[in-house]
Each structure stands twice: as C-alpha cells, then as structure tokens.
C-alpha cells in the first residue's frame, strides 16, 4: 500500500468562511503563501486579526521588507495557511530565510496544491488553508495593513482543536493548550459563531 502524502491522511474539507475565527482568533502563527509572475513564496505571520464574520474579513500586517509584500500587493491575493505544532521547525525556517534565496516549498519539502479562487498555492501539510482576496488596501501605505476577504476555506475536520503555534518574540513559542467549554455561561445569542 502506498504511503499517503504527508498531510493527506485526513483530507481537508470545505468549511464555512464566516467561521474562520475559530482558527484565527486564538492568535496562531500562520504561513501566508503567494504567487506573482511565475514565482511563489511563503512567509510567517503573527500580526493578524479577524475583522468581520460576513463578509469574512481578516486584517494582516505584512512587513514591507518581506519578498511577499510586493507579490501580495500586486496579485491582490494570498492563502493564509494554518500550521500545527509538529511543523515548528519548518515555520521557524520559513521565517528565517528570504524568498529571494530559495523556493520555500522545495526547500522545506512542502506540497503546493492549487487553490480554487486564487493563484496562490495552498500548503497541503497545513491543518487549514484560507483563500483570500484583497478587500481593502486603505492602510497598506501607512501601516502595511492588508484587509483580506476569505473567499474559500479548507479545513481538516480532525482534530477539532489542532495544536497551534503562538509566537511571543525572542524565538519562544507558546503551544495551544487545554480546551475548556464555558458555553453554559453564555447568553444564547452570543454563541451564534
């Protein structure tokens, strides 16, 4: 029996874009993939926030010193990929070399998979991939802040709460921990998403 490709043991499924907060609000490090004029790249990103459920908006501060900045600005799209803790060495590596020096998919043994709505490739090993198109560039000049709309979400159904990586600076990551359900203390209308 052939060994399945890494990350394909459990196939990713379509997921409601209005619910991507479930994965992004807790603040994980994400890998942003992009494509422009025949080149592709990946960058690490920890400075992002959910902004709206529907349309599904996510704001990302992308430093303009990154190779990815101009590629995303020009193509006006990207994929936000959610790596899990097992990928920590790849995540650190991706953040510490320049896309000008190497093709990061090849260099880090990652699988580029075609997305549905954007040219930027999905990283197949990641727990989730969110296809994004630029929704508003009003703050790109002033703060390098891109507001994206998530137009399609691919999520592995299990585990429901993947062990994600949360950067705290100085090379130190906090790993996602125990999950507690406090829904019994919420007003029903607060539990819609």
């Amino acid at each position: 029996m052939a060994k399945p490709h890494a990350g394909q043991e459990t196939a990713r499924k379509d997921f409601p874009v209005a619910q991507v907060r479930r994965y992004l609000e807790p603040g994980p490090i994400v890998l942003v993939s992009s494509s422009w004029q025949g080149r592709r790249n990946i960058m690490t990103l920890g400075w992002h926030t959910v902004l709206e459920f529907a349309p599904s908006l996510v704001g990302c501060m992308i430093w303009n010193g990154n190779q990815s900045f101009e590629m995303i600005r020009q193509s006006r799209e990207c994929v936000i990929n959610l790596p899990t803790a097992s990928m920590v060495d790849q995540v650190v590596g991706i953040g510490n070399i320049s896309g000008a020096a190497a093709d990061k998919f090849t260099h880090f043994g990652l699988t580029a998979k075609a997305a549905t709505h954007v040219a930027a490739p999905l990283i197949d090993e990641c727990h989730a991939g969110f296809e994004c198109v630029l929704h508003d560039d009003a703050l790109v000049e002033r703060y390098n802040f891109f507001i994206f709309e998530v137009v399609k979400a691919h999520v592995r159904p299990v585990p429901a709460h993947p062990e994600t990586l949360h950067y705290t600076g100085r090379g130190v990551f906090m790993l996602a921990g125990r999950v507690i359900d406090k829904s019994a203390l919420f007003r029903p209308d607060m539990l819609v998403e």
Copy 2:
C-alpha cells in the same frame, strides 16, 4: 499580617512598550477598560493585532454595538488588560452583560486602579495593563477598527508566560500551553524583540 489585595501578591512593574507583542501576539482574550463622562466600563476583546514595535501600535476591532465603543471613541483612550485563565468566569461574565446594566468593576469584584496617562482605569487583578491612546481613527467608520498607541505598560514580572485565554467561538476557550524555545534556530537579527 494583612492579606494582600487580590492581584497584588506580585506587584506589576513598568515594562517597555515596544515589547508588548510578547503578551498580545499570541492572541489572548483581553479586557478593555474605558472611562467617559463619569462612567467606566469593561468589555472583552479577541479581535486585535500588534501593528508596530515603535511607536507601539495595536489595532482593535471594537463592535459598535458595545457600550464601550462610543466611550472609547469619544475619550480617544482605553486600557488593554490581560486576564489569566483563573479569571475565566469573570471574563465570560463581562462579555455577556451590558455596561448599561451594571458597573462591571463592582459587579465582578474587580479593582479599578488609576492609570498614569489615561483616565480609563487599570484592572488591577490582570497580569498586565497597557495604557492606550487613539493613534489613528481612519478605519473606525468603515470597520470599527481603532489603532491605538500603547503609551505605558504595567506587567507582573512572574510568571514570564502567564496562562492566557484564547477564544475559539461557541463558548470554547483554548488555554495557553507549553512553551518551547526555538531561538537557537533564529538568525540573531530576528531576535531583537
């Protein structure tokens, strides 16, 4: 010997504002306190992102249905307080009642402490408190997105990595987990903050 006030067992100390990413980048739920025309309020917030080291900028999406929205918009300041996991029931409670119905400091037994640069009170029980002034309101109308400058930070020195709360929707929180140091894999210039 008198029992110390809650939260004062280890005093909070001044902390460099350029390093608040250490606490905010991992995506914790925060409590935003505000003050306006003799009233004070607290709201929960999970939709925030670091935007810059210096000046120390943080972007926050504050829903305009919250009582706090207008108080912060008018006063142009707030405090971002960092609660730890032991405060989870208070955090949930604060997010599930309106500031119009009760004074949340009194209702939840929290200590309001005078800040240095803003009229909004610090919540003394929290691990950290970041005094913020509104830096840019360009996206407040369109996205309820406030860009604040952190002008003073108060942080309890221990523990270095407090157990924070990370909301994932539907009443479920992820608690901060194990910490791993990967600094040996970083380029030295990537470890400045």
